[in-house]
């Protein structure tokens, strides 16, 4: 039997590229934060050289995530109601509170790290890790609790988000450590990068397993879930999902990390691929999720949020995301210039001197 849709109203997609960038930034932020706590909280001394970079990165990325939220609101001037009229049932409301709390706590934590106050940094770190993970798990819940959207509505969503957050945070730190090594002639601690690489490979495998279970469950569920699975694996989203997210963003980096254990450039490439793959994952969740029509018979086309209905055109959306990204890069470069990111705290004095010199070399 053939069914043709003659007339139906689809109000388009509520969320566009800006909301694709939002979980991407919060994920990177939470991931970087967890990496920065590896040395101070979990006592892994070999990760100490990257603790400062990662905490600065976590704060900047969180700021960018907040900006994306504001950019996506159609009434950003009313935002204060989200603080004064908290709705405990709303994951979006909790996201705002958690992001604010996390921003405050990571600023205090960063302050302690920059003052070489290891005991206080440890306490603050222990307090902040749950908040950092909660921010991202809550982002997962923002999507996961929507019944009408089959790709989103799964109990795995918060877990997937947290795991991919850690994956992307690790990858970003590998990339930045190698860039600093090449561009700013700061000698990167190669062993740090390699051990980060091992962690990264392990977390990618966990991520792949979660995606696999999610897809299998979708294939054995109702019509909408099945359609969503087909959409991701055979349909319109085969390139961003199978091509970029699975192959380019997960399988190839794992191969590189396993085969080229002692290759700095290999780690760099793997890191870049993973960050791209995680962005593709956010795209697949947000855009592919909304592509399955809630009440219609087919697919909703992603034409961007049209100017007449949502205030942003497709181009404007892309420009907003690029602008926020560029702001983040500027903030990071500025902090790399004015803050001493490479000082290894609590170590011998000569080490501090070398890194100060290298900091000047960067200018």
């Amino acid at each position: 039997m053939t069914i043709t849709s003659l007339y139906n109203i689809d109000h388009g997609m509520a969320y566009g590229l800006i909301i694709v960038a939002f979980p991407f930034f919060t994920g990177l932020s939470a991931g970087s934060f967890v990496v920065s706590t590896l040395s101070y909280v979990f006592g892994q001394e070999r990760y100490k050289p990257i603790a400062r970079t990662s905490v600065v990165l976590a704060i900047i990325l969180l700021f960018m995530a907040l900006l994306t939220l504001f950019a996506d609101m159609t009434q950003p001037a009313n935002f204060y109601w989200a603080i004064f009229r908290i709705n405990p049932y709303s994951m979006f409301s909790l996201a705002g509170i958690l992001i604010g709390l996390y921003l405050l706590m990571s600023l205090i934590y960063g302050y302690f790290i920059f003052n070489d106050n290891a005991p206080k940094a440890r306490i603050m770190g222990i307090l902040s890790i749950p908040v950092a993970l909660a921010v991202h798990a809550d982002t997962g819940f923002v999507f996961g609790l929507n019944y009408g959207t089959p790709i989103w509505h799964t109990a795995l969503m918060p877990v997937l988000f947290v795991v991919s957050a850690i994956v992307s945070g690790l990858a970003l730190l590998i990339v930045l450590t190698v860039i600093k090594d090449r561009l700013f002639s700061v000698v990167a601690d190669k062993e740090t990068v390699y051990s980060l690489g091992k962690l990264l490979a392990a977390f990618i495998l966990v991520d792949l397993f979660l995606i696999f279970t999610d897809l299998v469950t979708m294939a054995y569920s109702g019509q909408e879930e099945y359609d969503a699975m087909i959409l991701l694996t055979k349909g319109q989203f085969v390139v961003p999902f199978v091509g970029i997210e699975i192959f380019l963003g997960a399988l190839i980096p794992v191969l590189i990390l396993v085969l080229a254990k002692k290759n700095l450039i290999g780690h760099f490439i793997a890191g870049v691929l993973v960050v791209i793959g995680v962005f593709a994952m956010r795209y697949n969740v947000v855009i592919a999720g909304q592509t399955i029509s809630k009440t219609g018979t087919g697919l909703v086309e992603f034409t961007g949020l049209t100017p007449t209905s949502f205030g942003y055109s497709h181009t404007a959306e892309i420009l907003v995301v690029i602008g926020i990204f560029a702001l983040g890069v500027i903030l990071f470069l500025a902090s790399a210039k004015y803050l001493n990111l490479d000082v290894v705290p609590m170590q011998a004095n000569e080490k501090t001197v070398t890194s100060t010199e290298s900091g000047q070399g960067g200018k």
Binding site: I3, F92, V300, F310
Partner: protein, 194 residues
Amino acid sequence: MVIDLRKCVGCHSCAVACKSENNVPLGVHRSWVKQIEKGTYPNVAMPMLPRLCNHCTNPPCVKACPTKASYQRDDGVIMIDTKYCIGCKACIAACPYDARFINPKTMLADKCSFCDHRVDEGLEPACISTCIGRARIFGDIDDPESEVSRIKNTNNVVVLKHEARTLPNVFYINPDSDVMMHVTEGEEQGGRTE
């Protein structure tokens, strides 16, 4: 509200009346009629489904709203307090029925309000008074003596996405299952909704 699809002729006048009553801008709709074609000639049908906000008893949009701008009135109507709306679109994503949208004029979340301004004055909603087949019946579902209660309780009624536990308050009599559900268009994925 009960919509008796045995009496619906598919004239779309409910959609027109809603647009003009509530000044709904171009491109967005508070109320519309979904139509599909099914079967192969000569055994064909063109089922219709008038759509509007279901004013759920257990509304996911009200739960999703971060500022409590979306709320449930004492009589069950789901309303938006525009003063508090920040335009985060959480309610639009949460609604399983695609009933909500951002109004391009006001840039606020918008949806069917059961014509609260008319109902409060004792009038019927615009779509009810314009329906030429009297397919739509509106009233107090809690009052067992009201017309809407009698019709709802003495007919086989169904609601959209019953399994979502939203407990919708728009009941349909005699709808087609293919127009009620998400159905894959054609034989393979790839068709798109108009």
